[in-house]
Subunit: 245 residues, 2 copies
């Protein structure tokens, strides 16, 4: 498996340097961040934080994928956030975690001790400006997701998720989503179900249906090929091409 890792452990060679919360920092600011940071790694499937836990760090995802989810006591679970490389975990000023956080794939976090980070935000507008921007983007993503959860059919939900992953994958490669592109699904069927408010059986059935009808091609259970991106886009139910952004 092609697990990208990050071994150098210094900002100069950091793959998310230009997109993370530190994107706008100058050399001296980076140095200050450097003094309060440390790295942690998790294996796929490992829990990172349970809801209610004390949290005395915030972090950037360097490599891998993590999920935020909320559980009801009878076991129903809804994923409420999907953290990809450069995304930010935690909230300045908050002591206890409100969600369960799980490493969906192998994961590396760049952690900052919370207190000094909060301190730094007070006198470093470059950090808080960037964090505001990222939070506003996340809010937009959450709202797109709400439309998916509230109004789309199971088939549209699956198509939407595939399109979202395709777009993010493409943006990492610095291209745009196009015909013939392929990617590895970072989520199990169950995690997709938790993301979309479905059962894993329905996820499986809808993926089979999209495959049967040639909207997607599968190689194994996880590798997806998109022969015709516009066709997939139509299946999402969204108006032709990107209304947003």
């Amino acid at each position: 498996m092609s697990d990208k890792t990050f071994d150098h452990k210094e900002c100069g060679s950091c793959p998310i340097r230009h997109r993370a919360v530190c994107a706008r920092c100058e050399a001296d600011e980076l140095e200050e961040l450097d003094s309060i940071k440390y790295y942690r790694s998790y294996e796929a499937g490992q829990p990172i934080i349970w809801s209610g836990d004390r949290m005395d760090f915030v972090a950037s995802v360097v490599t891998g994928v993590a999920s935020l989810s909320q559980a009801m006591e009878d076991g129903r679970t809804q994923m409420v956030g999907l953290l990809l490389p450069s995304d930010f975990l935690g909230r300045p000023g908050r002591e206890f975690a409100p969600y369960d956080v799980v490493a969906v794939s192998n994961l590396t976090l760049c952690c900052f001790r919370r207190k000094p980070f909060e301190q730094m935000m007070l006198h470093t507008p470059h950090v808080s400006q960037r964090l505001l921007e990222m939070t506003l983007d996340e809010l937009d993503a959450a709202r797109e997701w709400m439309l998916i959860l509230g109004r789309k059919t199971a088939r549209e939900k699956i198509a939407s998720l595939l399109a979202i992953i395709a777009r993010r994958e493409a943006s990492l490669e610095l291209t745009t989503a196009g015909d013939g592109m392929s990617f590895e699904l970072p989520l199990t069927r169950e995690a997709m179900a938790d993301y979309l408010g479905l059962t894993l059986e329905t996820v499986s059935r809808q993926i089979s249906a999209l495959k049967r009808e040639g909207v997607i091609t599968l190689e194994g259970k996880r590798k997806v090929i998109i022969p015709d991106y516009d066709r997939l886009q139509i299946e999402t139910g969204d108006d032709t091409d990107g209304g947003l952004i």
Copy 2:
């Protein structure tokens, strides 16, 4: 109808002064904001902005309620934000509106011209810090909402919405939600359906059911009385009392 209005039009007597984006501002900063602000009013039901419109202001809700919603071209609609007094509308740095905004009740906005507001944010950390805080709160609310949309039954959805409104109503009165409290529903059945990802018929049926079983009492179609707040809380499906915050 008890439409609270705001006639004085100056920050000194502003009802949201201590909670809005300007909450942390000093006198001189307020003065600067004052020079770029103006008020606008809308009647219940009026559209404020259509998705795709150019938007050259941002604003705070002073009185009333507004909704953000996303529509699919076949008419399916999902509300993705509900703006109550002190909530912020718009995004610095964004030129075109991504959602439809509608005045749900009579509404007064305190608008700031966008360019000067953006300019001010660069040198006024009190504004951007407060905006970050508010955006993070909105993100939390959106995530609670995602659990509602993705995993709750129709009955739980209605109970959750009533509990949310009850809590916000109570916090405006500076008390906590308790037995016997009452409030006017600010939403039509259709708006509630758009909020919860249901049809208006299902909303109506579930409200009737909750009334029949004594969880709530209705006075007319809009005024709700909560005889037993804990009972309502149980009907939401959330674990006993507030897990969050």
